[in-house]
C-alpha cells in the first residue's frame, strides 16, 4: 500500500476548479516531483494534504489514516515547508528546533539535524532568525520540516534562496533520507534541479493531473537523439532518411533519432564515405518535455 494516497479530490472557487479529480500516490522512500505552472494547483494540493484546506469530494489517506480539514491525526508523521519557512523572528535556529520538537516524543537529534541542514555554523549560533538571510531561513525551514522524523516530507520550492552549493547539499540530504525510507513530495520551478532529484513526477495543469509517471518512463517517451557534425551534412541527411531514421537539420547540425544503436548510424555514415567530426547525445529534458506537454494540454482544451 502506498504511504500517501490522494484519491479524486476536488475543490472549486466559484466556477474555477482549483483541484479537479486530483489522484496520485507516493510510495515510501520515493521522491515525487509535483510539477506545473504557476496557479496550476500545486500549493493547493499540498495544503489539502496537510489539512489546511477543505476539499469537496474525494479522500486523502496517509499510512492508512484519513486526512481532512478537521482530522489531523495522521499529520504527526508529515513534515512540511509550504511556500515560505515558518519562522519566529525572535527565536534562534536551535530555539526553533526545540519549539517544534515539543510536538513529538521522538524528535530528530538536534546536533545531527543542524549539521545535515547546515544550520550549525557560526552564522547561526545565537543570532535571532530576524537577522537570517533568505537562504538561512530556507535551511532552517527544511530542518523544521525534518524535526519530527517524518515518514513523508512535503517541500514547496525548497531550493528558493539557496546558493548552488546549498542546493547540491540539499539534494544529497533528500536523497540520503529517501534511501532511509522517507518519502518526499516536492514542488519546484527549478526543473533542472528537480530532474536530478526525483524518482516520480506528477504533472498538474489547471487543477488537473495530466501525467503521473516514473522519471525513467517519462523520458522513455523521448527518443534519444544524436547531433552530428559531418564532412557532408546534407549527404548524411539523405543517407539517414534512406535508412528510415528520423533526421533533420538543427542549427546547421544533423539530428538523427529512431536508430536502434548509435553504432549502426556511425557504421552507415562511414560506409557512405562521410567523416564524423563531432557527435553529441541528447537525452530527455524535463523542462522541454514539460513545456511541450503543457502546450499540448492547453491546445486540447
Amino acid at each position: 500500500m502506498a504511504l500517501l494516497e490522494v484519491n479524486k479530490i476536488n475543490k472549486s472557487y466559484g466556477s474555477k476548479k482549483a483541484m479537479d479529480d486530483i489522484s496520485f500516490k507516493v510510495e515510501a522512500g520515493r521522491i515525487v516531483g509535483l510539477i506545473g505552472p504557476n496557479g496550476a494547483g500545486k500549493s493547493t494540493t499540498m495544503r489539502a494534504i496537510t489539512g489546511l484546506m477543505s476539499y469537496s469530494s474525494g479522500n486523502i489517506q496517509f499510512d492508512g489514516q484519513p486526512i481532512t480539514f478537521g482530522n489531523h491525526n495522521a499529520l504527526d508523521k508529515i513534515g512540511n515547508l509550504i511556500e515560505y519557512p515558518a519562522i519566529y523572528p525572535n527565536l534562534t535556529a536551535l530555539e526553533h528546533l526545540k519549539l517544534y520538537a515539543m510536538d513529538t516524543k521522538n524528535p530528530a537529534d538536534f546536533a545531527t539535524l543542524m549539521k545535515k541542514t547546515q544550520i550549525d555554523g557560526e552564522n547561526f549560533g545565537k543570532r535571532k532568525a530576524k537577522n537570517f538571510s533568505l537562504g538561512m531561513k530556507q535551511r532552517l525551514g527544511i530542518a523544521i520540516a525534518l524535526i519530527r522524523n517524518p515518514k513523508l516530507v512535503i517541500l514547496d520550492e525548497p531550493m528558493n534562496g539557496l546558493d548552488p552549493q546549498s542546493v547540491h547539499d540539499l539534494r544529497r540530504l533528500i536523497r540520503d533520507l529517501a534511501d532511509d525510507g522517507v518519502a518526499f513530495l516536492i514542488s519546484s520551478h527549478l526543473l533542472d534541479e528537480l530532474q536530478k532529484l526525483v524518482d516520480d513526477i506528477v504533472i498538474i495543469n489547471h487543477g488537473k493531473i495530466i501525467e503521473t509517471s516514473t522519471m525513467t518512463a517519462f523520458f522513455s517517451h523521448d527518443k534519444i537523439r544524436w547531433l552530428f557534425n559531418t564532412s557532408d551534412n546534407q549527404k548524411a541527411l539523405t543517407v539517414a532518411l534512406e535508412n528510415h531514421w528520423i533526421a533533420d537539420m538543427e542549427d546547421g547540425k544533423l539530428q538523427i533519432s529512431g536508430a536502434e544503436q548509435l553504432q549502426d548510424v556511425i557504421t552507415v555514415l562511414n560506409n557512405s564515405g562521410i567523416k564524423i567530426e563531432s557527435l553529441n547525445t541528447i537525452t530527455g529534458n524535463l523542462e522541454k518535455s514539460l513545456l511541450d506537454m503543457l502546450a499540448n494540454d492547453d491546445k486540447g482544451e
Binding site: 495544503r47 489546511l52 512540511n80 515558518a86 519562522i87 525572535n90 530555539e95 510536538d103
Partner: protein, 255 residues
C-alpha cells in the same frame, strides 16, 4: 493541550516585549503615585495607581498580536497542520492570554503595594472602601471587573483579528472601547431611546460593567436601565457568544 500550552509559553517568554509590558505594569502605579500628588489617595491605590487602563491596553494588544503574528510570520500553517485540533490551538492561545492578564495584574499589584508604602502610608486596606467592603475586597472587585472588561474587549479584538488577519484594526477598536466611553455612551443612549429593549445592546452592558460596584444600586439602575445581576448575565452571555464567533472564524479559515 499541554504540548500546545508549552509551545505558546515558550514563544511568548522568548519575546522581550512581554517582559517590557510586565515591567511597565509594575512601574506604572509607582510612577503615577510618585509624579502626581493628586493620585496619592485610597481610590488610586484601589485602582492600581490607575494602572487598570494600562493593564487592559497591554492585554488587548497582546491578545491581538498573539493571533495576528502567526499570520504575519507565516507560522500559522505549521501551527495548524499538526495533529492538534483547531479548537485546542485556539484554547491554548486563550489560556496564554489569560496568563498574561494575570501576570499584568500581579506586576501592577506589587507596584501598587510599593507605591502605597512609599506615597500613601496612611492608607489601610482593612478600612472600609467604596461600596463593597474593605480595601482588599474593593481591590478584588476592581480586578474582577477589569478582567471581565478585558475578556469582553479581547473577544471583540479576536473576532476582528481573525477576520482581517492583522492586529492594527483590532487594536484600534480595542482602544476605542477602552477610552471612548463618551462615544459608546452616546451610541447606547440613542439605541435605548429608539426602543427600550435595546437596553441590552453591548455598549450599554459594557458601560454597565465599568460602573459595577461603583454606584449605589438605585443610581446604577437609573443609568444602565437594569440591575447589576442582569448586567453581569448579559455581559457573560456576550463574552461567550463573541468567543464562539471568534472560534468559528478561526476554525473555518483556510490558510
Amino acid at each position: 493541550m499541554l504540548t500546545l500550552m508549552k509551545q505558546e509559553y515558550y514563544k511568548a517568554f522568548k519575546q522581550n516585549k512581554l517582559y517590557i509590558w510586565l515591567a511597565l505594569s509594575f512601574v506604572f502605579p509607582i510612577a503615577i503615585m510618585a509624579i502626581f500628588k493628586t493620585q496619592r489617595t485610597a481610590d488610586a491605590v484601589l485602582n492600581f495607581g490607575q494602572g487598570t487602563i494600562y493593564i487592559v491596553m497591554a492585554g488587548i494588544i497582546f491578545t491581538a498580536i498573539s493571533v495576528s503574528q502567526e499570520f504575519g510570520f507565516g507560522t500559522i500553517r505549521p501551527l495548524l497542520s499538526r495533529r492538534f485540533s483547531r479548537g485546542a490551538i485556539f484554547t491554548s492561545k486563550l489560556l496564554l492570554n489569560l496568563t498574561v492578564y494575570i501576570g499584568l495584574f500581579i506586576s501592577a499589584f506589587v507596584g501598587t503595594m510599593i507605591g502605597q508604602l512609599l506615597f500613601v502610608k496612611k492608607f489601610n486596606f482593612a478600612d472600609k472602601a467604596g461600596y463593597v467592603g474593605n480595601g482588599w475586597q474593593s481591590m478584588g472587585t476592581t480586578v474582577l471587573t477589569t478582567l471581565l472588561e478585558m475578556f469582553f474587549i479581547a473577544a471583540l479584538v479576536l473576532i476582528i483579528t481573525n477576520l482581517v488577519k492583522s492586529s492594527g484594526a483590532a487594536i484600534g477598536l480595542g482602544v476605542v472601547m477602552i477610552v471612548g466611553t463618551p462615544i459608546l455612551s452616546s451610541i447606547s443612549s440613542v439605541l435605548i431611546n429608539m426602543a427600550p429593549i435595546l437596553k441590552w445592546n453591548p455598549f450599554n452592558i459594557f458601560l454597565g460593567i465599568g460602573m459595577y460596584n461603583q454606584l449605589p444600586h438605585q443610581e446604577f439602575k437609573h443609568i444602565v436601565h437594569m440591575s447589576e445581576s442582569n448586567v453581569i448575565m448579559a455581559y457573560v452571555g456576550y463574552i461567550i457568544v463573541m468567543y464562539g464567533i471568534s472560534y468559528l472564524i478561526f476554525r473555518k479559515r483556510s490558510v
